[in-house]
């Protein structure tokens, strides 16, 4: 395999990271909803923490995207 092809394969493999982040983000919101339905009164106060968890999970997926972009355009 020459280097150019390896780069594209690597960029494609980085997409797995995006899928993993999808699981993570789904987990964050799913767990929040599960808790919120049990105790709706406490749900509104936890919205900030919900988005912190979302941001942390999402960042790792975006890093996978950055890796793909670096492989295609920079490396």
């Amino acid at each position: 395999m020459d280097a150019e092809a390896a780069k594209l394969v690597g960029a494609g493999l980085a997409a797995i990271g995006a899928g993993m982040a999808a699981i993570g983000v789904g987990n964050v919101f799913g767990s929040f909803l599960e808790g919120a339905l049990r105790n709706p009164g406490a749900a509104d106060g936890q919205q900030g923490r919900l988005f912190i968890g979302f941001a942390a999970a999402e960042l790792l997926g975006l890093l996978a995207f950055v890796v793909a972009m670096i492989l295609i355009f920079v490396a």
Partner: protein, 260 residues
């Protein structure tokens, strides 16, 4: 993106183009670019939006309600995360939130139909990085101003076991220093990813329609339907990313105000 060659270039929209050549200082060109132009547009739109709501009527109209909704939102967010010391950061966090929100949404507007191509300047790390550095320096300045060298106790949380003392400060230091990068990176990558996705789908629609009736109906219409959905998602992401930026800024300021 050219329809004739069939080649999709989704990165073209992120190119910074010079509108006015400007002048040079020390060999560096200072030019007026489309990025700068859209920053000016954002500021003007934001200004108009705020002026329309600052009438201070006792019984607020719709516009004033809208503006007060935004200010109340940021105010309560800072109250929740920082406490009453958070009051003095409302102007900064509010400007940050509104600037990013308006920039993201203006970049999404379908003005290309009338020949004006919006440039999403929040999709460039130079801009989000500077915004992140601004937040980070406020954290550093406030932290050292209020607590002096005691600010370094941020790296040793309360109740750290003694045998972890060699490791924890290092980890905390790295996680502290990585904050401006993750703050800037999140916003710009989220914007880039969404806009590339929209352009790729748009390329599908154009190319499949050029290819013939069957592919136009079979590929073009589902792609177009997906584009509408993704556009709605992008509006949501534009708002969430602005919110997350403001939220994380307020959390970091809280660290500087109260340590751990």
């Amino acid at each position: 993106m050219s329809a004739s060659s069939g080649k999709i270039d989704p990165m073209h929209q992120f190119e910074v183009q010079t509108i006015w050549d400007g002048f040079t200082i020390g060999g560096q060109q200072i030019a007026f670019t489309n990025s700068a132009a859209w920053m000016c547009v954002t500021v003007v739109v934001l200004w108009a939006f705020m002026l329309g709501g600052l009438k201070r009527q006792v019984i607020p109209g719709r516009w004033q309600m809208m503006v007060e909704g935004f200010t109340g939102f940021i105010d309560s967010m800072l109250m929740q995360n920082i406490g009453k010391e958070g009051k003095k950061y409302v102007p900064y966090v509010f400007s940050l939130f509104m600037f990013i929100l308006f920039a993201n949404i203006l970049g999404l507007l379908p003005l290309g139909v009338v020949g004006v191509h919006p440039f999403t300047f929040t999709s460039h790390f130079t801009i989000t990085g500077v915004l992140a550095i601004m937040s980070f320096s406020i954290v550093l300045i406030v932290g050292f101003w209020k607590h002096g060298l005691h600010f370094f106790s941020l790296f040793v949380p309360h109740g750290t076991p003694v045998w972890l003392l060699p490791v924890i400060p290092l980890i905390e230091f790295v996680s502290f220093m990585v904050r401006p990068f993750s703050l800037g990176l999140r916003l710009f990558v989220a914007m880039i990813a969404g806009h590339i996705l929209l352009k790729v789908l748009a390329g599908f629609v154009i190319n499949s329609a050029n290819n013939g009736l069957v592919t136009g109906l079979g590929v073009g219409i589902p792609s177009f339907a997906l584009m509408v959905g993704v556009s709605a998602l992008e509006l949501l992401v534009a708002a969430i990313q602005a919110y997350v930026f403001a939220l994380l800024t307020s959390l970091y300021i809280n660290d500087a105000e109260h340590l751990h």
